[in-house]
Symmetry: D3
Subunit: 295 residues, 6 copies
């Protein structure tokens, strides 16, 4: 398996990403249909400013439609993953309302919150698997972000903090909604959300928030790209159908989910990928030995 070498990756992909130009995100296309999305305000500890909240939506809507992409890896540039929302930049939106009628302020806040929720929901609506690689701090909005990803890896020095309660609010862009469905020691989730205490990487591993821990950022990224390459070698019809149905299952009863699955696969089982894969299996080949069409 020809795996991506970090050093080579950046160079190779300069040309193709012209449409993925953002202020706060750096998007690199890697070999094997892998896209690398970096939070890219390293001097600001990757704090999430207004541009970020908007650009994430644009970026993932583009990725969702981009048939060149099969898997996404998210990581943070610089010293930490992210320090969370950029209070200074966002303050004006949330703290200095233009109206003086509480109902109209509320009306506008609701719209704004819904927009900000969409910033991370796009990750979930994109049917391509998203692996997030966290190093050092992952604070506040960072936890909202990684909760919407599919697979979470981190470094030994990583730590996680549901920070919102410390700025006087209940977390409203995903953490309270997704975290309890991800790690499920309810007692622990509650403790984290009520106290804003830091959770270190070992506890994050034990409780299931992350599935693997690595000594440093280099080995973390290397493993994330290995995993991405492995997934990218499979049939995209199989992989992306799997994501769509896993997300559906989380929010529905088993019977509803089985019914949706039957409806889904009545098309997807007609795929050439099934024939190709079945034949490869009979011939003792691996998925990576098969060429699948784009999706």
């Amino acid at each position: 398996l020809l795996r991506a070498v970090p050093g080579l990756r950046t160079m190779a992909s300069e040309a193709e990403t012209s449409k993925y130009q953002y202020e706060t995100l750096k998007v690199t296309t890697e070999p094997n249909h892998i896209f690398h999305v970096e939070l890219n305000r390293p001097n600001k500890r990757n704090a999430m400013n207004k541009s970020f909240w908007r650009e994430m939506v644009l970026c993932f809507q583009a990725i969702a439609k981009d048939t060149d992409c099969r898997v996404v890896v998210i990581s943070g540039a610089g010293k930490m993953f992210t320090s969370g929302i950029d209070l200074l930049d966002l303050g004006s939106d949330f703290l200095q309302p233009q109206e003086d009628d509480p109902a109209r302020i509320a009306w506008n806040l609701r719209k704004k919150i819904s927009e900000y929720q969409e910033t991370f929901s796009v990750i979930e609506k994109c049917s391509k698997p998203v692996i997030v690689a966290v190093h050092n701090a992952c604070i506040g909005g960072g936890v909202d972000l990684i909760s919407a990803c599919d697979i979470r890896f981190c470094t030994q020095d990583a730590w996680f903090q549901v920070k919102e309660v410390d700025v006087g609010l209940a977390a409203d862009v995903g953490t309270l909604q997704r975290l309890p469905k991800i790690i499920r020691s309810q007692s622990l989730v509650n403790e984290l959300a009520f106290t804003a205490r830091k959770m270190m990487s070992d506890e994050a591993k034990r409780c299931g928030l992350v599935s693997r821990v690595f000594p440093d950022k280099e080995s973390l990224l290397s493993a994330a790209f290995d995993l991405a390459s492995d997934i990218a070698s499979k049939s995209p019809v199989a992989v992306q159908g799997t994501k769509v149905n896993l997300v559906y299952s989380r929010d529905h009863s088993v019977q509803e989910s089985l019914d949706f699955m039957a409806c889904w696969n009545m098309s997807m089982l007609q795929s050439q990928d099934v024939l190709k894969s079945a034949q490869a299996a009979m011939e003792k080949k691996q998925p990576k030995d098969v060429t699948f069409s784009k999706l």
Copy 2:
């Protein structure tokens, strides 16, 4: 942080709790807006008799409305947390029906069961965080009780037993409904519920039922009150909004929960607590350095 000293606590609060007078519960108000609710039939191993089932409802309905309370700690007086339902006292309600028509017996049983379910649901409906500190035995109804709490700590010698199957019935006041959403090794939940075997503190920790284990009751309570003080120092708008939305999220899809959250925070983000907290954060202060109005 000026933390509550157990010895001082009881004294200080004599006067204020005149309305919290119960036969089976002892309610003490602690510094920092913390209420301590003790199961208080130590000579009866805190067995849950008829008074208990009624008084819990009264107690938590009062606490829910009491703006002096921000966090609750529940513990058991005496040698164990609780031996569960008081079969002798409750038997007459459930085992000696007044009717001879099976339909009318059923009608009355359903009412009674619903009432008993409410005994623990009030904990969940109360928007203040409830920490439960378990030592020694937590049997039958005890598991129903702690399943409705938000955070669970226990001592090394604590053990847990879903006892109902041994008295010929399926647990009907919360365990079968909440436990699988709390610990989630479904295989383990099933085993506990089918066999009524004891689960020791270490297994309880591993499976996520409790989030921390302590050597003895004293260190347990000390840690529970520390945690309570920490939570009580935060904005009550933030903390209680967090509880309301965590409970909502457990029972709804992610999208439904996000929608409810946006509707919730369109009011709550207008809080002075957000401004105060944001300002404190900018000045590198802690939430405990800020004074929040009652809620």
Copy 3:
């Protein structure tokens, strides 16, 4: 406790099982109302062929109605638990459609998938607890099968593989629907489903998929039958009501589940089993000292 001795078991039950005659399953009735269902194509690595998918439904529908059965143990005959679907045998159903209209092919595929889903849903619909004992390989359809069981034990050498993605399809007979509600490190479930990598017994234990691991098949089966005997000694009204309500709770909100439970127990609390059990408890006897009527 008079426990079943593996050596004796097979012999004793020859006669009674005449109605449980299958090609791919071997059903043995054990002492204490325990039924043993073995995947029984050892020469074919217990691959799931067309007969298997049909016979499982017949078998569990019969068991569901059989008042002689209180608990079921499923295991695999031969060297491994199961290698999953028998591609050669099933290929014709899924890969060689009789139609040439994509809509009509889809129509038939949907019917077929629903039938195959039923093969494992019958385990869940059967109100008797089902313990599955896995040794060596549990691949593809095997994971779908065990996801529908109530309690999972395995041997040290057991491994699990969500294989479907490697044959070009999203798993459609239960894994994607049930697994996330069983083990709940969402990150891990996603990784397994996207990569088809093997998960070994120790990881399976840590993440909660199995609740116990044993050194070899003999000790595995011995423990499974011990557990089965223990459960079988309890009131079947209590045990089976527990299963019905645990399955219900998984798919409903806590309040819905409490309402259903109240409706359920308004009948079931009228059981003689409750009286018998309560009386035994007062007399310090165990459930196994009580004789319960069949159910």
Copy 4:
């Protein structure tokens, strides 16, 4: 059939209703286990003041438990059914908040709204059929009230008005939630709610809001009590089980509702009432010839 004669009714029941003493409601027990609840502020056009919102809850909680009651008739004393909320009396609760933090005002408003919602939800939670007899005006809160009743009759001169939009708010105690499930010309419901226009009795009949229209209040009440007597002559197990399941069905899918029903009737079919009724049916008798125990 000995039917209640309006003239006699009031007298006969003086004694029994000592516990049903309210400021804003007049409760009379009629022959045949019928209770008559009158909105009783005729000089104030039965405007709904603070006492009313509280007393309705007390009244219907008492009726729900009162085995002497099998059916309830609600009507309005004086010239009209009701003019809706008493703005002057309620204004202080909703228009003059005690707090100055918008979040804390919101917190208290939510509690208050929930309490007011309960005022009409109690009608639905009471398993006894509630017939409402409307004459002349039924405005604002009146529509919320009748939407929670089971059967609606009115006089020729009756009219209905979803008034809330005219006082600057979306109706929040039941109309927007229940009306669309009652009459279901969605286009008409929307029109009524957006415009606050009056709907006359004939349109109310055509759209299904009321099932019968009568020339005057006397014939209206006479018919309502006739219907009540008829229902009261049936098995209360059958009638009240019917209400519980009709309310359940409104809010659930058909399959969920069938499952709940099966769970419900597994007790209720064991009733003596079924045997008595079946025997009566064989002997060509009517339900009213059978004596059913209280429920």
Copy 5:
């Protein structure tokens, strides 16, 4: 349009129906892929005995799979549609339990009720449109039956009666679950269910229970078969997909239903029927001028 002539119909189909041989049902295959199912115990007023409850399931399961059938018409042989359940025949199942433990009686009753519910749910699960033609009496179980059909026609002399309350029970095989979603004057549904009064054909038309009324049985059947022929001339992919999605929509939110529909039509829009129909439409032809493959 070559329409079915009642006189000819019976004859033509003798041979093909050999597999549709029942005691209580007469199944005739008509021209144009129409199946006619008659309740066929005219001497017993088509009372629903044990055989009927079983045979309906067999019959509609067979029809569901029979690609020769595109539409079903149900009617009653003899003087009336049906007098409902056959109390004498069913009494033993429901009134004379084999057990003496109320819990075990309940257990068996629940199973039995679920089976009887399935008798009418099969109509809904069968994706072919089912038109029911009612003449004269339609009582008790008859209302349950027609509630599960797709289109209801009746004669002028038809009447409907939700009879169950008169035999001491809440209707448990579909009426309370489906009727409120069909006619939706909630007030009227409640009245019918609480009183067991007869509803005549004109009221049935007005409230939407039936969509057309005819002077006599002959014209009724003629119209039903005309409608059936019309539907049978359309693409079965379109017609049966429409039924599946209409049933789905009834039980789900609009958004859920749109999502399911998109998943459904991603296969079905690939149908040759769409191409054939589109081409016919361009050529100003009717669906009946097109030949569609079986489904």
Copy 6:
């Protein structure tokens, strides 16, 4: 009340609508914050071509945010409301797939269907009331469109046709999902969807699809604008909150809807509009005498 005069309307609004420039829609701003959206391909019978499906989304997303707009009226320019989808123009999207793998074709079709569903869902997501005025033909996609509107009026000569079954497909952009929740004679909805027969204005009125019928287009539009003016004179906080909650209620249980409503109004009751309206009510003024801020 100064009502909009059709003749004057067009002129007055030229300037303001520069941003509402579309090929297939004509948007005019009327007095009193009313927007008029006309289907504007009169020479093509307002057939829905690709531009239309895209422009509706843009148009209603803009209107949703436009605080100058309080109510929308939709009508059709020229001889009829709409002939439905433009088969010739859309054919390429749906009938000539770019792929040859059925799974990939399905994948793209699902995306396309979801986009087309959004074309009408935007009407529902826009919180401003939408009145649709239908004259002459309303076919296929036209029924999907009007099903997503809030209030439906039509002319005497209007007719409605669920056309999709005649082009070989189940209607997939809203009709099957919304129509049964709008008119609710289930029998009639099914008949219309299975047969594609025309429904005339009188039947549309009787079944509740439209709430009023007018002799000609002029009186229709006049009445629609009168209604719009009336609604536009009310508090926009009240009106739009009403729409949001009516849509929510349609898709949720009564209890869920009440909970959401309480959460909603905890902000909205703080509105100045409530104070203004309450004061006006006390002074016997109408909403139209009050000036409400934009929303």
